[in-house]
Symmetry: C2
Subunit: 283 residues, 2 copies
C-alpha cells in the first residue's frame, strides 16, 4: 500500500482561513487580537522564526508586535518587559522566543507570563492545568499534531508510541492522546529494543531529531506516522522517519518539511485568538 | 516462584525514623516543622484520614494543626483560611483535604495554596514544575510508589504498565518512572486488550479501584507488582490485584493493606519536612 499524505501546508491553510474569519468577526466588535513576541539577542534562526510568526499573524488580520531586546539584556529587563505586556490590555498573547541568553533564567521568565496570555502554554501553571483537565493553553506543536490526527479518524483504543519525552512535544502530546482514549507508550533513548517494539503500534509519533530512526520495515502495516523530527542535513530539513520506506507501509504519513511544521505556527495563531476571545468573554 | 513482599509498613517505619532524626536536628536549630491540615465538613473517612496525618506528624516530632471549617463554609472562607496559612511563618506545609463541599471550587482552592507550602503537590504550578523538571513537591502516593520500587533495583530500561490515568496517581507516577528511564505505557478503561497486554511488562502499577483486575496468569514471570487499588469489599480493604495468584508469578509484590498506603502518609511528612527546610534555606 502507499500511504495517504497528511499535507500540513494544506491543512494549515484551511485552518488559517477559519481563523481569519474569526479575527474579522472580532474586529467588527472593535477587538483586534494582538500577538506580541519578545526576542532577546540576534540568533539568526530565532529571528527568522519570530518574523515568520509575526507575518503569519498579520496575514490573518491580527496585530503583531515584536519586542527586540539586546543580547546583553539583564533578567530584570526581560521580566520588566513581560510584566509590562501582562498589563497592556491591547496585548492578548505573549510569546517569549527561547532559548534566552544564559544570564536570563528561562523558567523564571516563562513563569512570569500571565497565564491568560501564555499562548505557548509553557508556563508551569498552564502545564499543570493541562494535566488536571482545566482551561489552559495547549503547547502549539502537540496541538498541531492532534489537528493532523483528526484527519485520520478516531484515536479511541489505538496504541500509540510517542518517541521523545521533551516537555515541549513528547510529554504533552502523550497527555493529549491519552485524553482521546488512546493508549500511549512514551519511548526515549533508554527504551529497550525500541525499534523492535514499534511493530505493535497503530500510531507512531517521533519527536527526536534523529534522521532514519523509524523505517518502514519496523512499522505495523497501516500505521499512522507523524514525524516531528527536524534536522538539517546537507542544507535540507529532514525528519526522524525514512519517508520512502515508511510510506509503503503506513496508512497516513506526514512529510518533512510541510507536515507538522505549518501546523505549529497555525496553533500559535489559534491560541492568540483564544486569548483575545477569553479576555473579552467571547465564546 | 513466590514473590518477595514489599512490606509498606516496615519500609515506612524505617523511613519515618529517618525523618524523625531530621526533625530533631531542625528543632535543635529552633525550627519546628509544622504541617497544617484544612478540613471542611464532617465526612467520616476524611476526618479519620486527617487525624491519622496529624498523629503521624506528631509522632515524628512535627507540630501539626487541624483547621476544621463547617460543611457550610463558603468558598471565600476556605480561600481566606488558605491565605492566612500562606502568610503564617510558623506553618511550613498546608494540606487541604479533598473532596470539598460542592459550593467550594476545589481547583481554585488548590491553586491558592502557596507553591512552597503545597506539600500534596496538587497545585497546577507545582504539577507544571514537575513536568518541566523544576523544584517542586511530588504528590505523595506516586512518591511512595517510587520509594517502594527503590527496593526492587534499577528501573532503567524496564517496561512499565501504569493502569489508571488520574492526575493524583497514574499520570504523575508515569512521569516519575519516565524520569528513571523506564518506558511507560499508560493504560486505562479504554485500553484495547489490556489484560492480554500485561504479559509484556516488567513492572505493573495498578491504580484503578477494581478488585481482581490483575491476575497472576496475566503477568510476566518475575514481574514487579505495585497495587495502589483500595476498595472496601465486605468491610475489608482490597486492591486491584488478585494477590494469591499474582504472588506465585511476581518477583516483588505489595500487599493491600500495608503496601502503598503507609508510604503515602510517610511522603506527606517527607514533603512537610522539605518545606520547612526550604523555608529556612537548609539543604
Amino acid at each position: 500500500m502507499s500511504a495517504e499524505l497528511l499535507n500540513g501546508r494544506e491543512i494549515a491553510k484551511d485552518y488559517r482561513a477559519g481563523l481569519q474569519e474569526q479575527v474579522e468577526a472580532l474586529k467588527e466588535k472593535g477587538i483586534t487580537p494582538n500577538l506580541t513576541v519578545v526576542i532577546v539577542g540576534n540568533d539568526g534562526a530565532s529571528l527568522s522564526y519570530v518574523k515568520s510568526k509575526n507575518k503569519a499573524a498579520e496575514k490573518i488580520g491580527m496585530a503583531s508586535d515584536i519586542v527586540h531586546l539586546e543580547e546583553s539584556a539583564t533578567e530584570e529587563e526581560v521580566l520588566d518587559t513581560v510584566r509590562r505586556l501582562n498589563e497592556d490590555e491591547n496585548v492578548h498573547g505573549i510569546l517569549v522566543q527561547v532559548p534566552l541568553p544564559k544570564q536570563v533564567d528561562e523558567n523564571k521568565v516563562l513563569e512570569a507570563i500571565a497565564p491568560e496570555k501564555d499562548v505557548d502554554g509553557f508556563s508551569p501553571i498552564n502545564i499543570g492545568r493541562l494535566y488536571t483537565g482545566q482551561e489552559t493553553f495547549i503547547p502549539c506543536t502537540p496541538l498541531g499534531i492532534m489537528e493532523l490526527l483528526k484527519h485520520t479518524g478516531s484515536l479511541e483504543g489505538k496504541d500509540v508510541a510517542v518517541i521523545g519525552r521533551s516537555h515541549i512535544v513528547g510529554q504533552p502530546v502523550a497527555k493529549l492522546l491519552t485524553n482521546e482514549n488512546a493508549t500511549v507508550t512514551l519511548m526515549h533513548s533508554r527504551t529497550k529494543n525500541m525499534v523492535e517494539k514499534l511493530k505493535d503500534f497503530d500510531v507512531v509519533v517521533s519527536a527526536v531529531g534523529k534522521p532514519g530512526l523509524v523505517k518502514g520495515e519496523d512499522l505495523k502495516e497501516g500505521a499512522i506516522v507523524i514525524d516531528v523530527g527536524n534536522t538539517v542535513v546537507d542544507g535540507k530539513l529532514v525528519g526522524d522517519v525514512d519517508f520512502d520506506s515508511a510510506q509503503e507501509v503506513a496508512s497516513y504519513i506526514t512529510p518533512v518539511p510541510g507536515g507538522v511544521g505549518p501546523l505549529t505556527i497555525t496553533m500559535v495563531l489559534n491560541n492568540a485568538l483564544i486569548a483575545a476571545k477569553r479576555a473579552n468573554n467571547i465564546e
